[in-house]
Amino acid sequence: MKNIDSYGHVSGSSVYVDDIPEITGTLHAVPIYSSVAHARILNIDITRAKNAEGVVDVFMAKDIPGENQIGGILPDEPLFAEDEVHFIGQPIAVIIAISHFAAREARNLVEIEYEELEVVIDPREAKKKGHLLFPPRTFANGDLKKGIEESEYLFSGSVESGGQEHLYIETQGSYAIPQENKKIKIICSTQGPTIVQKTAARVLGLQMHNIEVDVTRLGGAFGGKEDQATAWAVMAALAVYKLKKPVKLILDRDDDILITGKRHPYSSDFIIGLDKDLKIKSYEVTYYQNGGAAADLSPAIMERTLFHATNSYFIPNVKATAFSCRTNIVPFTAFRGFGAPQAMFVIESAIAHAARELGIDKSLIQERNLFKPGDSFHYGQVCNSGNAMKSWGTLQSQYNVEAEKQRVREFNLNNTFLKKGISIMPICFGISFTKTPMNQARALVHVYQDGSIGISSGAVEMGQGVNTKLIQVASAAFNIDYSRVKIESTNTTRVANTSPTAASTGADLNGKALQIACNEIVDRLKRKAAEILQADQEDIRIKNEEVFVGNKASGLYWDELVETAFLSRVKLSEVGHYTTPVIDFDKTIEKGHPFAYHVYGTAMTIVHLDCIKGTYAIDSVKIIHDSGSNVFKSIDRGQIEGGLVQGIGWMTLEELKYDNKGILLADSLSKYKVPDIYMAPLSIEISALETDGDELALLKSKAVGEPPFMYGIGAYFALQNAIEAFNPNYRPNYDAPLTPEKVLLGLYEVK
């Protein structure tokens, strides 16, 4: 089934926040933010701005009726800075005017006096100074000392991975509208309607029921609208609270790129030990997460880094420590993969480094250490799947990896200035929110008396196709045509206390809740049908909109059944409530069973490199992906391709550059380059590793949002492989992204 929104998308009729027809009298808000990375605020003068043409008002910290606090996990982030600013882009006030343009113009008239303070942007320097956002954590298993003793070889090194701008094409935005009885409705481009609702209530000093948040769809999010959509929504709500007028706040791209959080840069150290059979015996790793100026979601992201320290490899003795370092940069936030890609890049670099030192193919080490059923992850959960090895093996046989490697070698022998490189990248990604209480969801189903169906859930559609999946689930549960099912907007008044649509769990959690609700109603309808047909309820089935008794068509159709049920006062609405079973995690010992299941896969990447110019292209990526039942084929394929290319972008072109004053240099699309159509691999082949799937996955089809991102890491190592083919003096340092600049300098590096 294709994305149900496709029709609206291609005809331009799909509605995003900024497309909603404006209510007459709508005002426009623009945030005012710090232009320096660390300073005491000496004075803020808004008089000129306030008197500017078209300006209605300016609101600052002192105007907040409730709490000046938007920190989701830790209360360390004010909505508006009061005495000090900690990063460029930190909001100080919001300006409200009759047009967006007037608000932006007047913004230049706000005068803020600063006393500048020391700026720290490097996480290691922050750590040295003791600037941590929260205490460090260590995950360990086995006995590291023993592991080191058992190691024949020990290698150590450092690894850097850069941040990443989400670059959702739709910027952040909210439209807040006053309702009667002081209620405020916020139409928002957010992955977390409840977060927005709760935070707005907190800041405005209201009870949550006074805030309604409604989300139809997002023009891309990728984690960037999980926590980071909130501030703008709350500012709009604050203005509504004060002015009793509809207020719209849509960030311009230049603001969005500057003042919203991105993927965390990491700096890491590793020591890896291998025995003579290339079994990894010990792995010690320390991550310095650049958290930015406030915690945001960093605690959870850091935790996921620790969970994925060993990627797909079983390592008996591990010690992984992470520090979240406070720097004077915009708070970093969720981004597809949520800390796992950074961890995987480190272990892959460690293996690459070991292989290079040993003069062997990296795959030899990779293959020898893949997880087997019965192995346990370093956080205690036991691996119950052989899919790491199975996906690896299938890739080898289906795409003849050895022959490809040979072809690459031959190509390189025959070409002076063109070189190819190849790499294999296995992935293993845990599915669930690592914070157990978040693994719950609700779905509300109405069967209308004409047999049509309306569904509300906590899932937010952002292109990942969750609405399409939900329709598939409902129509399967009722055994009726898709066209009867409609998905409503995600709205906090219909489905409350939602978890954000994140961690790849949107479809699993909400879909399961939906199944529960549908099945309840199906049961009632079957009971009614049994009554009408005077049959045994056990024998009643609904198939293609018709009721069957055993195998016999009854002539009783869906519409009639529903209508009869309604007239006999059967309850045709239901709320399904789902909580993921079996998961738990004990933070005091950092052990438990945090994930419902894992998604595995293996990718082979081949690149080619112009060794004169240092420019490159991705020739092909071939993937064996553990998708479980593969019932959402078309949508999952889109997620895999999209995730892969985003991952390739992170590893190659996408470079967030900050200068030492904390100024973002790559501050526009002309400077921050994401993959375009030419940067996508020339060919992407994906095969589903058809497995039994997992009971905890929706229709046994495993979650797919995040895992494929990490296939992109393969591009990095394939490029290194190509550089090595040209320059024997190349000493790779593991410093992503591997931009054409670094490639060229690597190609001509001398000893």
Binding site: I169, T615, G638, G642, S670, D676, P740
Partner: protein, 476 residues
């Protein structure tokens, strides 16, 4: 007063003529299908089609509405995603859906419009170029690429000659398109206020990014319709009008036959939409040290014919035009009326190389162009320009002087490399460190020769030079 047709509807507006078409479409006309992604031409979400009469014949191309000032749509047909709507989906829309080429959908109206204009842009053979200016953050592009190839296959089924009519007849575009040619011909030319202080705008692709605030508040003057937009060849000279866009330059028969080597590099410059808008003159006057057209035209030893308000013209060499960072010899009130350069001599060659972080739709880290004539293995003529390594697009006078008259061999090139390094002064910035740029200049210089003279300068020799190995016959 600006008049144009927006989809089906005739628009007449008194709004400031510098307001962006995007704002006009979304805010004044309440057509929200066209999306705002960046407002700087870099994402393509705001792509619309522009239909224009060329000698009475209606032709369409894609443009970005965010950088199009209203003044530049006078007398044209602007088509947004809404204007492509029919009872049934068009084949472009269908192939986007059937290939799963839309996820969040925010880029999709832009992609749909770009692909529709691919169907209509007869000169454009490469469907990827048509959508190269559309960034999609969701799909990873493979599905979009498939859709693009399907559309291209369809395009190849259209009989040549009056393609627009065939497309309308096939039902791939709404019927109202058949009335547009007539309706456009009824619109009177724009009555410009001719404000002497009015900002002069070409395609707007630099100015609308850099000075949108000023532009939307003042009355601007456009070169469109006022300056010649043809490319002529006359007495061994190629004369390019001051209104010629990059795309019409690249597509012109004159250029394609005179400098066929350039065909491969054109796609590296900006995107289809931007090439459809931006002019050569604008590229020169913008004076970016990295302007691709400036670099190319420098190596061609182009001259500019400037004209002031009183109609008095003067001629300057492009190599003397840029004075300092973003400062040119253009006097107030002057315009570039023509850009003139000689046709290549027999046996002459021209090369253009560009390296940017992202190969397509990106500003160069370093670009470089050479025009050269070699006679009896002696360099008879040599002009060389490099971008990104000085405050201005750099004409390499010293290197030119050194190489002119020299024997072309690897030893000469090696010596030239030393001179080159003294002639450039790159700084580290977002486009690369100075070390990188120095290295790139060397690499691109050698690449030119490798491409042009593979028999005289062998890859083996170049490899030795690049890897600092001793060159065997270096002694003599």
């Amino acid at each position: 007063m600006i008049e144009f047709i927006l989809n089906k509807r005739k628009i007449t507006t008194e709004m400031a003529n510098g307001v962006s078409l995007l704002d006009f479409i979304r805010k004044e006309c309440h057509l929200p299908g066209t999306k705002t992604g960046c407002r700087e031409g870099d994402c393509g979400a705001c792509t619309v089609m522009e239909g224009r009469l060329y000698n009475g014949v209606l032709k369409y191309k894609s443009i970005v509405s965010c950088l199009t000032p209203l003044i530049n749509v006078h007398g044209k047909h602007i088509v947004t995603i809404e204007g492509l709507g029919m009872d049934e989906l068009s084949p472009v829309q269908q192939s986007i859906i059937s290939n799963g080429a839309t996820q969040c959908g925010f880029c999709t109206p832009g992609v749909t419009v770009s692909l529709t204009s691919h169907l209509l842009a007869i000169d454009q053979k490469d469907p990827l170029q048509s959508i190269g200016g559309n960034i999609c953050r969701c799909t990873g592009y493979k599905s979009i690429e498939k859709a693009a190839h399907e559309v291209d296959d369809l395009k190849n089924t259209i009989p040549r000659g009056n393609e627009l009519k065939s497309i309308i007849e096939k039902g791939w575009l709404p019927k109202y398109f058949s009335t547009i040619q007539q309706r456009l011909s009824e619109i009177e030319p724009y009555q410009s206020s001719d404000d002497p202080n009015g900002l002069m705008i070409g395609g707007g692709t630099d100015l609308m990014v850099q000075q949108y605030k000023e532009i939307r508040q003042t009355n601007i003057v456009s070169t469109e319709g006022r300056l010649p937009d043809s490319i002529e060849i006359e007495g061994g000279k190629i004369i390019v009008g001051g209104g010629v866009t990059m795309q019409s330059f690249f597509n012109s028969q004159v250029i394609r036959s005179e400098i066929p080597q350039l065909e491969e590099v054109f796609p590296l410059i900006a995107s289809e939409q931007i090439r459809n808008m931006g002019t050569l003159a604008g590229n020169i006057v913008n004076a970016s040290p990295i302007g691709d057209l400036s670099i190319l035209l420098l190596a061609l030893d182009a001259e500019l014919i400037l004209e002031n308000r009183s109609g008095i013209s003067r001629q300057v060499k492009l190599c003397n035009f840029s004075l300092d960072y973003k400062l040119t010899d253009l006097k107030a009130g002057e315009i570039i009326k023509f850009i003139v350069f000689k046709t290549l001599k027999e046996g002459g060659q021209i090369g253009f190389e560009k390296v940017s972080k992202r190969t397509y739709l990106d500003i160069a880290s370093v670009n470089s162009s050479i025009s050269i004539v070699v006679e009896n293995s002696t360099i008879a003529h040599f002009s060389y320009s490099v971008g990104g390594i000085a405050p201005v697009p750099k004409y390499m006078f010293k290197t030119k002087a050194f190489l002119s008259g020299k024997k072309l061999d690897i030893v000469t090139l090696k010596s030239a490399l030393e001179i080159i390094q003294t002639e450039i002064s790159p700084i580290s910035d977002i486009r690369g460190s100075k070390e990188y740029k120095r290295l790139l200049v060397r690499q691109l210089f050698l690449q030119h020769f490798l491409t042009m003279f593979p028999k005289i300068i062998t890859p083996g020799e170049i490899h030795m030079l690049m890897t600092n190995k001793q060159i065997p016959h270096e002694k003599h």
